[in-house]
């Protein structure tokens, strides 16, 4: 049974909201972190909570040491901790990805390293959607080390890294926003506002359990699994994923609005995009913005400094390909997803060149032609995204 139709999840979600309404001492993020920990323990069991708390303490200690050593002359110590932290994080992420890609990975790992607690760690990674925790850790390190933002206490940090309402699949919340939740006075919860939040949550449930499930049952039967065997399947799959993921994101956002905990918007009518580049600013927006601020912008800035502004557009192909390779490998550790990233990066670079060319020659069609061209562009975006999905679908939804 999916987590979001488990009555216990909703009882706990409402309990956390009611507890947050009580004027207890401590900041909002601390109180949320505490109630979140209690809710996770009841929902997932004390073993998962204990491992999660251990992981949070490891991250917190490493970042505390790094920020402490940042202004000290001890360069070797700082580099060592920085390297160690990155290696541990990438190692854990890789374990999780190998486990997702290969069903016998746990047994293979047990044979190679019988001492390694795979039977505890691997289910923990899946239960808590470690891919999202991984990107949150990068965002956290980026804020604390490079942007000199203060590190919050471990309980509040747990509320940022593993929030109950973003447990299933994101969105990727921003550390700076989470920290600022304490500074902002939360909006007064009037009956109208509560009604709007309920509307957001019920729309999310409607997307998933009526529209997405309706599509699945219609095309694949009541107990059938989504798969992409033929080209046409990838069109259905794309629409299904939209209602599934956008529905989930709406539920998470609605609960986040109730709690006053920043929960980013994840979808903004992606099928209205007139280019693939625009599509990625409207689909899974929180991951797109994370990639933009953590990979694309820093790499592009470094490149422009080296090659000059004149070659900025041409050189953008490098950060685009790197960013989308990360997105591909973030989904699954496989050659197919890696090539998906390379191809997507190149396609977006081509779109950039075409766009620059059209601006240069001041091509502006009349209004009627523009509407027709935009409709064709939307068709092109849908076809391209579905086509790319066809090649990677079997990695995520094996037949």
């Amino acid at each position: 049974m999916t987590l979001l139709i488990n009555p216990l999840f909703w009882i706990l979600a409402i309990a956390v909201y009611l507890l947050l309404l009580i004027r207890l001492p401590g900041s909002l993020t601390f109180r949320f972190g505490l109630f979140n920990l209690a809710a996770l323990t009841i929902l997932l069991g004390w073993e998962v909570s204990l491992v999660a708390l251990g992981f949070v303490l490891l991250v917190w200690t490493s970042l505390n040491l790094l920020t402490f050593l940042k202004n000290k002359p001890n360069l070797a110590g700082r580099s060592l901790i920085s390297l160690g932290f990155s290696i541990v994080l990438i190692f854990l992420f890789s374990l999780h990805k190998f486990n997702l890609a290969n069903s016998t990975f746990s047994a293979q790992l047990k044979q190679v390293a019988p001492w390694f607690p795979a039977e505890i760690l691997l289910p923990f990674f899946v239960t808590l959607s470690f891919s999202y925790i991984f990107v949150r850790c990068i965002d956290l390190a980026h804020s604390c080390i490079w942007k000199n933002k203060p590190l919050i206490d471990p309980i509040s940090l747990m509320g940022y890294l593993m929030p109950l309402h973003m447990l299933v699949s994101g969105p990727v919340n921003i550390y700076d926003d989470h920290m600022q939740a304490n500074e902002k006075s939360s909006p007064q919860m009037t009956p109208s506002r509560v009604l709007l939040v309920i509307n957001e949550i019920t729309t999310g449930l409607f997307y998933k359990f009526v529209l997405a499930e309706g599509i699945r049952i219609y095309f694949y039967g009541l107990n059938g699994n989504i798969s992409a065997i033929e080209w046409f399947d990838s069109f259905i799959l794309l629409i299904y994923i939209f209602f599934d993921f956008a529905g989930y994101s709406k539920i998470a956002r609605g609960i986040g609005l109730l709690y006053g905990i920043p929960t980013p918007v994840n979808f903004n009518a992606p099928f209205l995009a007139t280019s693939v580049t625009e599509f990625w600013t409207r689909w899974h927006m929180s991951l797109g913005q994370f990639v933009l601020r953590s990979f694309f912008t820093p790499i592009q800035l470094q490149l422009v400094r080296r090659v000059g502004v004149k070659w900025a557009a041409t050189s953008s192909i490098v950060p685009l390909v790197i960013s989308f390779c990360f997105v591909g490998l973030w989904h699954r550790y496989s050659w197919v997803w890696f090539l998906w990233g390379v191809a997507m990066g190149i396609l977006m670079a081509v779109e950039k060149f075409v766009g620059t060319f059209l601006i240069k020659y001041k091509w502006s069609p009349p209004k009627g032609v523009k509407i027709a061209v935009d409709s064709l562009k939307r068709g092109y975006v849908f076809l391209v995204i579905a086509m790319f999905l066809y090649f990677v679908a079997n990695e995520v939804f094996p037949t």
């Binding site: 009604l195 359990f209 989504i226």
Partner: protein, 51 residues
């Protein structure tokens, strides 16, 4: 007017008018009714669950 167009105008308001509240309640009830008829324990897990 579809819901996506309706939401931004409503989001900024703290107090809804009587007609807005009624329309929103009907829309929520409509969704919940369909939801109740579609809900079954065999529902597929979220695509990105456990990612």
């Amino acid at each position: 007017m579809n819901e996506n167009q309706l939401l931004p105008t409503l989001k900024n308001k703290i107090h809804l008018t009587f007609w807005n509240t009624t329309a929103l309640l009907i829309w929520i009830l409509f969704k919940l009714t369909l939801l109740a008829s579609m809900m079954h324990k065999g529902a597929a897990e979220f695509i990105y669950a456990g990612f």
